[in-house]
């Protein structure tokens, strides 16, 4: 409850303070929820099931405002409340939109915390939509000829997906014993095969659009490229993870009967997305667009890993979604700082940036290594687990998806090479304290998780085992 309310109040405070507000103050406010998250870890722990923290009738007697906490929720709360301070520290430009974007980012933090803590289906939907509103208004600050079309396409894509999910949830709701949206009640609904395909399809659509998996990705690149950096970071770092979280938390337990039907499609499309995103990323000249497509490629692998339904796949996906959030925000931060100093993010117009700013160079290089999944950086363990799980499902597919490691190295190092080395064209301004702090947080997690990936697995293990049990009960077998 606190982690939802505090950021929303902070957002109002930022609006009220207006231009008088300083970065340190908003960053401090965005870090406050982290204290409560730590307290959840301490008080609730991650060894039991999904424990209810707060419960109150909301939309009706049985549609409640229920927040819960377990390892999976914990990971995503950590991710959200670590990345939002990073975004506020480094990602928001000091221009006319600064106050608005800071306020919206904080509002979004509250909504996202709500999404990850919701134990009630309708509450989940409401916060899911609520998280869309601030990001939509952040994208509205973009400029350009097609700006409105891009934002509208983004909104309509996600909104249609959400409505499909709402329809599925209402269908389940009407089949519960006492008209309740509670997670347990929805899970207890027995569906026939056909029903579960429709219900599961609706829920799945919302998540696949958000992730995005291949045929639903066309909103992504334009939105990422044109949105102000804070928006891009929120979208790629956290919002995208809402889709993956939804798959794990809501799709697998609620419609396990339909997994059989969707499994080959989702895995196939995800692996296709992995290759497609990587190949297109290699050809990009705009750095932001490049990272957008690389993101498509990375999350495709995560989605595929979830759908293999193996323990490695599920755990690997949780690790990787955390790690991808950290790395992609790091990359966008690098691009944002380059663009702020030089005024461009086209690879052809950049070069030799390493010469005058060594610190920046080191941070960039570490983030790049993490993205490429070099051993002892955070990208490695998750990717290994995911590829292993994919190998268990279909060895050929894992070979195809494994190509992404090579492609990823190509486009990331190409980006580093063209911008950092070669003949000098422009220079990056020396880093301010807030930017160093933002980079510091990111590199801490890149190296820390590279050496101790087991930490994440320990947090999430129990939740994943439980989800796996539910799925296997419904399917009869669990590989």
């Amino acid at each position: 409850m606190e982690v939802i309310i505090i950021p929303i109040l902070a957002s109002i405070a930022v609006m009220a303070l207006g231009k008088k507000n300083q970065i340190w103050l908003s960053a401090l406010m965005s870090m406050l929820p982290l204290v409560f998250v730590a307290q959840f870890f301490d008080r609730v722990g991650v060894d039991g099931g999904w424990k209810t923290l707060f419960d109150q009738p909301w939309i009706s007697d049985n549609i409640r405002f229920t927040t819960g906490f377990d390892g999976l929720t914990g990971i995503l709360l950590l991710l959200t409340n670590i990345l939002v301070p990073v975004i506020i520290l480094g990602g928001i430009r000091n221009d006319e939109h600064r106050v608005k974007i800071t306020a919206l980012t904080l509002f979004m933090q509250g909504a996202l915390n709500g999404v990850f803590m919701a134990q009630d289906g309708l509450m989940f939907y409401i916060f899911w939509e609520l998280a869309l509103i601030p990001i939509y208004f952040i994208t509205l600050t973009m400029s350009g000829v097609n700006a409105f079309k891009i934002t509208l396409r983004f909104f309509i894509y996600t909104f249609v997906g959400s409505l499909a999910m709402l329809a599925s949830l209402i269908y389940l709701f009407l089949h519960t014993a006492n008209y309740s949206f509670a997670f347990e009640a929805l899970r207890a609904v027995e569906l026939s095969h056909t029903e579960s395909i429709f219900v599961g399809g609706g829920i799945l659509l919302a998540f696949l659009v958000k992730i995005p998996v291949l045929p639903f990705h066309s909103w992504q690149a334009d939105t990422y490229t044109n949105t102000p950096a804070a928006g891009t970071m929120l979208l790629s770092g956290i919002m995208l993870k809402m889709g993956l979280y939804g798959l794990l938390r809501w799709f697998l337990p609620l419609a396990p009967e339909s997994i059989e039907f969707y499994q080959p499609w989702v895995i196939g499309l995800s692996v296709a997305g992995v290759l497609y995103g990587a190949l297109i990323a290699i050809r990009q000249k705009d750095m932001k667009r490049l990272v957008a497509f690389s993101s498509l490629s990375h999350v495709g692998l995560i989605a595929a890993g979830i759908f293999t339904l193996t323990l490695e796949g599920l755990e690997g996906s949780v690790i990787q979604l955390f790690v991808h959030g950290i790395n992609v925000v790091g990359l966008f931060l690098v691009i944002e700082l380059i663009e702020r100093s030089t005024g461009t993010r086209m690879l052809g117009e950049l070069g030799g940036l390493a010469k005058n700013n060594r610190l920046f160079m080191i941070f960039f290089m570490l983030i790049a290594l993490g993205t490429v999944a070099v051993p002892f950086t955070n990208g490695f363990p998750g990717e290994l687990l995911l590829l292993k799980s994919l190998y268990a499902y279909r060895p050929n597919l894992s070979l195809l998806a494994g190509l992404t490691i090579i492609f990823c190295a190509v486009y990331v190092f190409r980006m580093v090479q063209f911008s950092m080395f070669g003949e000098g064209k422009g220079e990056v301004a020396s880093l301010k304290w807030n930017e160093i702090l933002a980079f510091g947080i990111i590199t801490f997690f890149i190296l820390g998780l590279g050496f101790m990936p087991q930490m994440l697995i320990d947090i999430v293990h129990n939740s994943i085992v439980q989800i796996g049990q539910w799925v296997s009960e419904a399917r009869g077998v669990m590989s």
Partner: protein, 461 residues
């Protein structure tokens, strides 16, 4: 009843007081009397006070004054009070418009509490006749004259059809009383397996056509965009909210008496609902005028409310009440901003909204709240209203709910045009939007109904 009484007498007093004075001197008085009507009605519904003597003047088979009727009366009075408050700076000489609007509201009270079809007919006439005048209130404006004439012709036409339907119903069931007229045909149909009398069937169809005209549902909606666009803003808002809600209450109470023979009318009414939803939403996509867009949006909302007709069973009336309240609040909020902008910029298309958020962030936020509530996006009153409506309607007409969801998705396409102009466009125009107090009140109410609907509903129902 008490609302009818208070509203009627304050309207008469207003007319006498302000025959040749400026309207703005008296609009606060009008608004207060309406809020008093609303408050008294609400108090009656909560059994805090009772006006039994007053109510006993009306024969019980003509009008009924239960909790539901009191609550709808309170809702309608509250909305009209807000509308009058919103236009309180109107510099017209003479109180005739205020008086007419309140007389029209008396007709709306009758429509929500009728027990006899004659009272329904009288209610519709009392509601409509002042509106013919109000629609043409800006006498020098050709569009307003056109709106008045169109509304008059359509109103006369639909009333004729409605009366014919009433006569058929009387012929088929032998009664015009709400509680009696459904019994005989339902009994004969359900218990004895007899086919429905043709007169009853035809009567239901004809009366429904008359009422569908009033709520502006397809295919009887053609008059609405022109009339809404041509009428003065205040009249448009009155027609889009009060008339629509009152007509839906009357409609559902009428159809509910024939619940026993629902097969006879559910099919085609649901098809009309689906057509209304799609038509309203699709036609709104290509409008350039703000008022026309809102007119089509109100047609789409009528389509959603058709779902309520199919599921009404006397216990879930609160859904219609809540939807009406949410829809009216959002409409008043958006209209009030649009009205002030069109007055200050002189434009009627979306470019009046250019640069609004930059000029006045507060009004920008209010606009966001209003439009999101209209589009049904959480956390707003509009979302909860749609959620209640859709989730209850699902058991009766799942496919219609599907169409409703599709309609909601389409509606984003035109509702977000407001944001495009308010947030993305620049404008040199620097005239501020006044009336922040009302905007703040409406936005807060919408958010309150969005954030804690159950607490509010529990305290009212």
């Amino acid at each position: 009843m008490i609302a009818l009484f208070v509203t009627f007498f304050s309207a008469v007093v207003l007319l006498f007081l302000g025959l040749n004075k400026k309207e703005s001197n008296y609009s606060i008085f009008a608004a207060i009397s309406l809020f008093v009507s609303a408050g008294l009605s609400w108090a009656c519904s909560a059994n805090l006070i009772s006006f039994g003597l007053l109510e006993s003047w009306v024969p019980a088979n003509m009008m009924s004054f239960g909790k539901e009727q009191h609550l709808f009366s309170a809702l309608l009075a509250f909305i009209v009070g807000l509308i009058i408050l919103m236009f309180r700076k109107n510099e017209v000489v003479g109180n005739d418009q205020l008086g007419l609007m309140m007389f029209s509201l008396c007709g709306a009270y009758m429509m929500v509490s009728y027990q006899h079809l004659v009272m329904l007919f009288l209610g519709i006439e009392v509601l409509s006749i002042p509106l013919f005048v109000l629609a043409g209130a800006s006498k020098t404006n050709l569009a307003s004259n056109e709106a008045s004439l169109k509304y008059f012709l359509m109103g006369a036409f639909s009333t004729g059809i409605f009366l014919l339907g009433t006569a058929f119903i009387y012929g088929g069931s032998g009664s015009l009383e709400l509680e009696m007229m459904g019994i005989k045909p339902s009994f004969m149909h359900a218990m004895q397996g007899m086919p429905l009398p043709v007169l009853i069937n035809a009567g239901i169809v004809l009366m429904s056509v008359g009422l569908l005209f009033k709520v502006a549902a397809a295919p009887f909606h053609f008059w609405a965009p022109d009339v809404y666009e041509g009428s003065p803003n205040r009249t448009t808002l009155f027609m889009a909210t009060v008339v629509k809600i009152a007509a839906f209450v009357a409609f559902y109470r009428f159809l509910n008496t024939f619940a026993g023979i629902a097969d006879a009318w559910k099919g085609w009414i649901s098809v009309l609902g689906a057509i209304t939803i799609l038509w309203g939403n699709l036609a709104a996509l290509n409008q350039t005028s703000v008022k026309r867009t809102l007119a089509f949006s109100s047609i789409a909302h009528a389509g959603y409310l058709v779902m309520f007709l199919l599921m009404a069973d006397g216990t879930n009336t609160w859904i219609l009440w809540f939807y009406g309240l949410a829809y009216a609040l959002a409409s008043v909020l958006v209209f009030s901003i649009a009205n002030q902008l069109s007055v200050s910029t002189g434009k009627n298309d979306f470019s009046a909204f250019d640069g609004l958020a930059k000029r006045s962030p507060f009004v920008g936020v209010a606009l966001v709240i209003g439009v999101l509530s209209m589009a049904g996006i959480p956390v707003s009153a509009g979302f909860n209203a749609k959620f209640y409506l859709f989730s209850f309607a699902w058991q009766h007409m799942p496919w219609l709910v599907g169409v409703g969801l599709l309609g909601s998705a389409i509606s984003v396409g035109y509702y977000f045009k407001f944001f495009k102009h308010a947030f993305m466009q620049e404008s040199e125009d620097a005239s501020p939007v006044l009336d922040r107090g009302l905007l703040l009140f409406l936005s807060a109410l919408i958010l309150l109904l969005g954030a804690m609907p159950w607490a509010v509903l529990n305290s009212i129902f």
